[in-house]
């Protein structure tokens, strides 16, 4: 199995605080991976490390086995759409495509970009600054796709778009990568945007990877259990209780399954991806100490 992105003990520090710490993950080639986490979790830092904009302070990150800061050969394989989809605002879409050709001598499919933008009805001679947010995001995506990248990294590409533009953007993205064998890693603070499209999931919170794996496997290994009010005793067939909530009479647990059947005392329910993600995020949630506000805890 070829790995598109591989991180080992990866860390990045700004001043004294770690934006990303002890990060280990693998994105196999051909996957469409979602990088999910709240704002400030380190998603952008991770993507910037993967595209070589940042240099790691600890560990290493590899893209198709190579260091992304190791020359332009690696960059040619990566298509990157940064947060807020920046493009030169005084350039027209046509000029941006010309620019891409000048900057990517190795491989540049201008016809592909033109076709995409023509299909989407984006005017070629209007400055990008005068396009709508959705259109500008489409231009940025077209520029990234014209590199014919083996790995496409997108940093919150739809965060600032309205719901209609979001759906359109995700449709064009999925249409584009379905034709090729491009690996995609896209981040969002909203799982709902990605849930239907992705087959691989990375959950990031408070600078650490909380959960990573193929979506179907994650769904298969997690269960919601409802049963009588439980203490802290272990349950047969359960490897780990991710999150527990209790009422007076009963307990609801989100668990990772272990070997063997689960204790029949508990009623088993299938989980949705959202249940799993929220459980892991809540588990890792570290709140600000009320004392920081001068309020008693």
């Amino acid at each position: 199995m070829e790995l598109a992105v591989e991180a080992r003990a990866l860390g990045k520090r700004y001043g004294r605080s770690w934006a990303l710490q002890d990060c280990a993950l693998e994105v196999p080639a051909g996957r469409i991976a979602a990088l999910v986490g709240p704002n400030g979790a380190g998603k952008t830092t991770l993507l910037h490390l993967a595209v070589g904009l940042l240099r790691p302070d600890a560990g290493e990150v590899r893209v198709f086995g190579r260091d992304p800061r190791d020359g332009t050969a690696v960059l040619a394989d990566i298509g990157f759409v940064a947060q807020d989809t920046p493009v030169y605002r005084d350039f027209t879409a046509a000029e941006l495509i010309t620019m891409g050709g000048k900057l990517n001598r190795r491989r540049w499919d201008a016809a592909l970009a033109r076709d995409r933008l023509a299909t989407l009805g984006i005017p070629p001679d209007k400055p990008a600054g005068k396009l709508s947010g959705g259109q500008r995001a489409q231009v940025a995506l077209a520029l990234a796709l014209a590199k014919r990248p083996r790995l496409l990294l997108l940093d919150e590409p739809i965060a600032s778009l309205d719901p209609l533009a979001r759906r359109e953007f995700m449709q064009t993205l999925m249409g584009a990568v379905a034709e090729s064998e491009t690996t995609v890693l896209l981040s969002s603070h909203l799982l709902a945007d990605l849930e239907r499209s992705c087959d691989y999931l990375i959950v990031l919170q408070t600078s650490r990877v909380q959960l990573t794996g193929p979506v179907d496997e994650l769904l298969d290994t997690h269960r919601t259990l409802v049963g009588p009010r439980a203490g802290s005793e272990s349950i047969a067939g359960v490897a780990k209780v991710v999150r527990a909530s209790h009422t007076e009479r009963q307990s609801t647990l989100l668990v990772r399954r272990g070997d063997g059947p689960i204790d029949p005392l508990w009623t088993e329910h299938e989980v949705t991806l959202e249940d799993v993600v929220l459980a892991y995020l809540a588990d890792a949630d570290t709140r600000v100490n009320p004392a920081a506000w001068g309020v008693p805890a």
Binding site: H48, V51, G52, L53, L54, R55, G71, T72, L75, A76, I78, F80, A82, Q83, D84, P86, V87, Y88, R89, F91, E95, T98, M99, G100, K102, L103, N104, R105, R106, R107, A140, L143, K147
Partner: protein, 325 residues
Amino acid sequence: MIWLTWRQHRKQALFTLVALGVLGAIMVPTGLAMHAKYDSLGLAACRAALGSASMITQTEAVARCDGLGHQFQQQFSSLTFVAVLFVILPVLVGVFFGAPLVAREVEQGTHRLVWTQGVSRLHWALAKFGLIGAITAVLAVGYALGVSWWFQPLVSASTGRLTYISFDVQGIVPIAYTLFALALGVFAGTYWRKVLPAMGIAMVGYAVVRVAVEVFARPRYLPPQTLSFSPSGKQTPNLASGDWVMEQGVRNAAGEMVLPDAQIGPCPAGGCGNGPGDVGPGAYNWLRYQPGDRFWTFQAIETGVFVLLTAALVYFAIRRVRTIA
């Protein structure tokens, strides 16, 4: 990269050309008028006759030549203020070309677009700094030649080209100043990464460095020379020598400064001991100065200083570029 650089900066280039055109339209007629007047007054010939020695014998011809110089200065004194404008011009290059070069990319996030294409950051930086620097250098050479030509009559008619302001807009130093301003702007942009603060830093930094070099370093490039002459003799400092007088005064027989910033003489045969301030017998005029023929040496030293500063700033700017994300 050439295409991208041209596409990004063509508007600036156009504005610059228009501004330089307007400036030229003012400079050429006034410059021609000054040159014509300079020649018609016979200043060129009489200055040439005085030679470049620091001291000459006071004669009627010398006095007449000084008089012509004063007359010329009177007529064109208002234009001296234009020279102050020329002193300021290089900093505009730093503020409007240099500071936004990296800072605007970072401010608009487009550095993440351009640095993730198939061109390395180092290549990007070298191409951009190199192209903009080369164009700036060409403009600066034109500016230096133009201003040197324009300013030449005014300078020769007055205190010479080594003095403040005259030195700063002539010869080769304006080219070095301009490149330094550009590099300072670029560096400020890589450090503060917002266009407006970078512009401010470039402007203030340029002024501070220029003033520091001008006031503290330049008078010390070479040890100054001193000159003493008796008030009763016929010798007088030669205005055509272009000497940069840094300090002058009258010293008494014991060598103590008794009248700073003054000169006495020529005195009657009996001496001039009873003059203003009563300097006593044996007093003499004293000058500390940089000889006018050091002009090109000083130009070379000052150019060297600013070229070195420019190189250092470019080096640090490139280093900064490699850490921005």
